[in-house]
C-alpha cells in the first residue's frame, strides 16, 4: 500500500507517520510538503490513500528561488487536480488544524466541509478531521480511515 501524505509541518507529519506505522505496519509512505511537487507526482503515480493538509505552500522553499505562495486552501488545489485526472475514488483524509475550511470563498465547519467537498468537486471517498497536537481524537478517526 502506498500512502501519500501532503503536509508541510514536519512535527505533524512525524505524528501521522507514527500513526500509520502503528496501524498498518510497514507500508510505503510518500510525503510532499508543497502543492507543486504533489501535482507533479500525480503525473506518474496513483497513491492508494491520501492524507492531506489544507493550508499548503505552492512550492518548496529554496534559497534564491523566490517566495512560495502560501495557499490557505491549497488542499483544494490537490483535490481539483485529482478531479481533473479522474482520480476521484482515491480515499482522502483531510487532516486540518483549523475548525473551519474555506471552500469557494466560504467557510464551512469540519462536518459541513466534507459534504461540500463531495458535492462541489465530486470526490467520492472523503473524511475531514480536526487535528490537535494535544488530543488523540483525530487518531481514532485516522485509524478508521487507514483500516478501511
Amino acid at each position: 500500500m502506498n500512502i501519500l501524505v501532503v503536509e508541510d509541518d514536519s512535527f505533524k507529519f512525524s505524528k501521522i507517520e507514527t500513526l500509520i506505522e502503528n496501524t498498518l505496519g510497514k507500508v510505503k509512505i510518500t510525503r510532499f510538503d508543497n502543492i507543486h511537487d504533489t501535482v507533479i507526482y500525480f503525473e506518474s503515480n496513483i497513491p492508494d490513500k491520501i492524507i492531506l493538509d489544507m493550508s499548503l505552500p505552492s512550492h518548496a522553499a529554496k534559497v534564491g528561488e523566490g517566495s512560495p505562495l502560501s495557499m490557505p486552501a491549497g488542499g483544494i488545489e490537490i483535490i481539483l487536480e485529482l478531479k481533473s485526472l479522474n482520480m476521484i475514488d482515491i480515499p482522502i483524509l483531510i487532516l486540518t488544524q483549523y475548525p473551519e475550511i474555506e471552500i469557494e470563498n466560504e467557510y464551512y465547519s469540519i462536518d459541513e466541509s466534507g459534504i461540500e467537498i463531495k458535492n462541489i468537486y465530486g470526490i467520492n471517498n472523503l473524511a475531514v478531521v480536526l487535528y490537535e497536537n494535544d488530543s488523540s481524537d483525530w487518531k481514532d478517526e485516522a485509524v478508521d480511515f487507514l483500516r478501511l
Binding site: 534564491g64 488544524q97 497536537n133
Partner: protein, 961 residues
Amino acid sequence: MNNKHLNRITISLVKSKKARNLLRGMIGETEHYKVKNTLRKIKNNCSSIEYKKSIEVIRAAELFEHNSVSRDFNKVCPNTLPDLMRFTENEIIDKINSQEDRINKLLHLYRDLLVSIQEMKIRDSLKLCRSIIEHKGVSCCLIRILFYIKNHADDYDDYDDAQEGVEDIFRKIEMSNIGYLDNAIKELSNSRTDYFNICKKINGDQNKTPLNLIARDFISHVTSDEIVFLNTLNAYYTFSLLDSFLYISSVNRLKLPLTKGVKNIKSSLMDSFYSLSNIKVNTKLYLNEYYDDLDINLFRESFLLIELDELFKYKTIHGALYNTSEKKEDVRLPVEKRLLSDYFESIKSLSDLRNHENGGNGISMDKYDSEKCSHFENSSALLYYIEKNDANISGEEKIFIELMSYTRDIGYTCPSHYIKKIQHNADSDELRLVLACLISIKDKSQIADHELRRVMQKLATSKFDSKIKYLVRYLYDISPSVTHHLMQVCDETFLSKLFHLTEKPNKAIEDRADMLEWYGEQIKDLSYIERAKNLRIDVQINKEKGMIDDSRIYVDPLKFTQWINDNILNDITLLLEAKENKNEFTAQPLDWRKVQNGISNDEQIASLLLKCYSEFCNNKLFGIASYLGRRIRHGTFKGTALKEVKDFSSNKKYEDIFNDRDLSDCYNDWLKCYENMLEELKKSYLHIKSKKKPLGLIHSNIGTTSKNIIANHMLHDILKSYNKNGTSLEVPYLVTEYCWRFIEEDLANIRKRLMEYKSKHAVFGFRLNYSRLLKRKHINEFCQELNSVTAEKFRTISSWFNKPSIASPSANLTLLFKAVISEIKGFFTLFEPTIIHKESDFNISGGLYFVIYDALYILIYNAAKYGKENSELEFKVIPHSEHQVINISITSEAKNSKSLAESKRLINAALNADFENAHIEEGKSGIKKLRRMANDQYISNVRYTFPSNKITASFDFSVEF
C-alpha cells in the same frame, strides 16, 4: 376631472382643513426643507387623497411657483422629494390633457431643437434651449439633450461656444438640485467609464428615489412590469409634466397593454410627439470617433435622445443583448424579438459576422451590416447567433476564436449556460482555452480558475514546449483580444499556480516579465516594458537574498502593489483621465460608507480604492486574512500562548505544589478558562469581520470617522499625484501606505482586546489559606512565574498586531549592489571585482529601489566594460541627513592611462549630449539615461571624477531620514 377645473387649481380644492392650513403656511415659501417638512406633515396627518390634492396645488398654483420641490412646468431643476408620488396613469394623463396647449408649444420647441442639433447648428440649438427655459420647459429631456450637445462639442466648429453655452445653461437651471441625475447621465454616456459597473451601482441603489428610477429608465427603457412602469411615470411626473408625457409616449412604442391609457391622450399631443420622434439621427457625429468604438458610443448615448425613433429602436435591439443578465432571453418582449430578428435577418452562419478588418466604419440603424459594423454591433450579432442556434457552432470554431478580436465584453454579456454548452462540444484546444477565459471572467470560483489553468497547461505542454509565453504569442496572431485578456489574467499569482509549468516561484516572475516585455513591444506601450524590467530586478534581488523569505509577514507589499497594477490601476487611470478640468482634482470630502453606490467621478475612484482596501484585508494569499489564517491555522497563536503555561504542571520544580489537590484543581480550572479565552479569541475575534465572523476585529470597510478622514486624505493625495505627474504610477504605493493607516485603528483594538483578556483571564491567583501545608513563598513564586510567562506571551502576541517596519516593497542598498554585480557578471565572465563596501547601508522602500537599481546598473556595467579586470570596486553609501539625501558612489580602476583618457572623453561627451531621447535610444554607456533620470528628479547631482588612475561615478537620491 375637467380641464377648466385643472387650470384653476387653488387651495380650496383641498377638503381637509388641516391640510389647507398647512398649505397656507407654505405660500411664497422657497426653502426646500420647509416645503418638504410641511408636505410630510400633510402626508402623515391627512388622507392620501388630501396629500395628492396638496401636491397638485403646489405643482400648479401660482402661489407656490417658487416652492422648489415640484412643479408641472419648471424654469429650474426641481429639488425633488425623496419619496415617490402615487398618481395613477389616468390621473397623470388628465393633467397632461389639461395642459395641451402648453405642452404642444414646448414639444414644437423641442422638435426644433432636435432638428437643429442633428443639423449641427450649435448657436440655434443653444438659443432654443434658452427659449424652452423661458417657457418653463426645463425637463429631464432638456438636460439629456444638453449633455448630448456637450458630449459632441468637439464636433462643432465653435467648440468653446458649445461648451460654455451648455455650462452657462446648467448654471441657470440649477443643475446642482439634481446632482445624482447629473452624475448618472455623465457616467452612463461617458465611453471611458465601465458601463456595467455604473449600471450595477444605479440598479443596486435600494433607495429607489424618483431620480434613481429615472436613471434606471436610462439604462433600460423596456419594461412590461406595471409597477415599474407606474413608478417610473411618477418619477418623471415629479420632475415635470412634460417628462411624464414623453415617458408614456416613448413606452407606447413597445405596444404593450400597460400604456393602454395613451388612447386618452389628446391627439394633437401625440401628433406632436410623432413629428418629433421621426427626426433622423445624424450618425456623422460619431464617425470621427475611434474606429472600433463608434457604435458603442452611440449606444451609450442613445438614452439622451431616446424620443427619436431610430435611437429608440437601436437601444431596444442592442440593449436586449448587451447586458449582464443570465436570463435575458426569458424576459424578452415580443416587440424586442421581432426587432432582433428583423435587424439580424442576414445572419445565417458565423461567417456572416465581421471576423476581419473591414474597410468602412459606420453605424447600422436599420439592419446589421458586417461590412461596416464595429465591435459593439458585431457583439450583438454574435450573441444573437449563439442564442438563435442554441450555442451550436460546430464547424465554425476558428471563426468563433477570431471573432473575439472583433467583439467586446462577450464574457460579461453571453449567458454562462451557452458558453458551457459550446465548451462541452468544443473540438479544438484553442477554443477550449477561449471558452475557459470567457467563463472565468464572470465565474470567480476555484473550479473555473483551475479549469482555465488546466487548459492552458495542456495546450502549452502539447504544442509550445511547455512555455506559456509562446502560447500567448501564438494566440496573438489568431486573436489579439484573447491575448490581451490573458495578459490581464496571467499575473504572478496565476502563473505560480501553473504547477505543471512553473517549477519554482521565481519562474513565475520571470515568465510574467517576459510576457509583459513582449506585449509592451507588440502594442507599443512602454509601461509594460517598465513593469517587466522592475519584475526582473525583483528576481535578481530574490536570487541574491541568500535566505528564504519569511512568508509570515503582513500584507506582501510586492504582491499587493502588483495586484493593484493588474486589477485596479487601469480603471482608476481612466477615471482620472476623464476629469475635465483642474478644479476636479481638488477632492471634496466624501462619505465613504456610501461611495459604493455613488456615481460621481470621485465616488467611482473611491469605490475602486475601497476594493483595494478590501483586497488588502481579505486576500487569502497576500492580505491580512492570509496572515491571520497562518497565525491561527498553523496553531502559532494557541501554541505560543499555551505551551509554556501548560508545561508548568510537569515542571519538577513545582511538583510539590501540584501534589496539593486544592492548588492543582484551582490551576486546572484556571487553565481551562485560559484555554477557552484563547479559543474565543481564535474563533471569533482575530478575523476579518464578515457575516460568518461578525465579531471579527478587522473591518475591511471604512466605517469610522477617523478612517473616513484618512480615506479623504488618500483621495486627495492620489488626485494631487496624478495632477502633478500626469501618470498614476505612484498610486499603488500611495494606496499601500494608506491601507496601513486604515488598519492601524483595528490593530490597536486587537491589542487592546488582547490586553483586556490577559488581565481578565491570564492572571493566576491562589488563596493561600486553602493550602496551609505549602510554603507561602513557594506558592507566590509559582504564581509570579506563571503570570510572568502569560504576560510575556501576550506581549509577544500583541506585537504581532503592529504595523511591520517594512510595509512597502523594499530592498537595502547592499542587496541592490550585490544583485546588480551578479547580473552584470552574467554578461562579463571575467568581471570578478574585489568589493570594498564602505560606510552605512540603507533600506529603500516604495518602489524607489527600481530607480536606484537602474542607476547602479549603469555605473557598474561601465566599470565592468571599460575598467580593469579583477580590480577593486568600491561602493560607498554616505547619508547626508541635513540635505535629506544619500550619496552613492562607485569607484573603479581604469585599465591603463590611455583607457582612462578615452573613458574621460566618452563620459564628458555623454554628459554634454542631448538626453531627451535617452529612453528611446539608449546609448552605449547609459550615461544619457542617468542624466535623464536626474532631469526627471529621480536622482540628482550625477558626477564623474577621476582620482589618479580611477573613475568615481556618483549620484544622490532624496530620502526621508
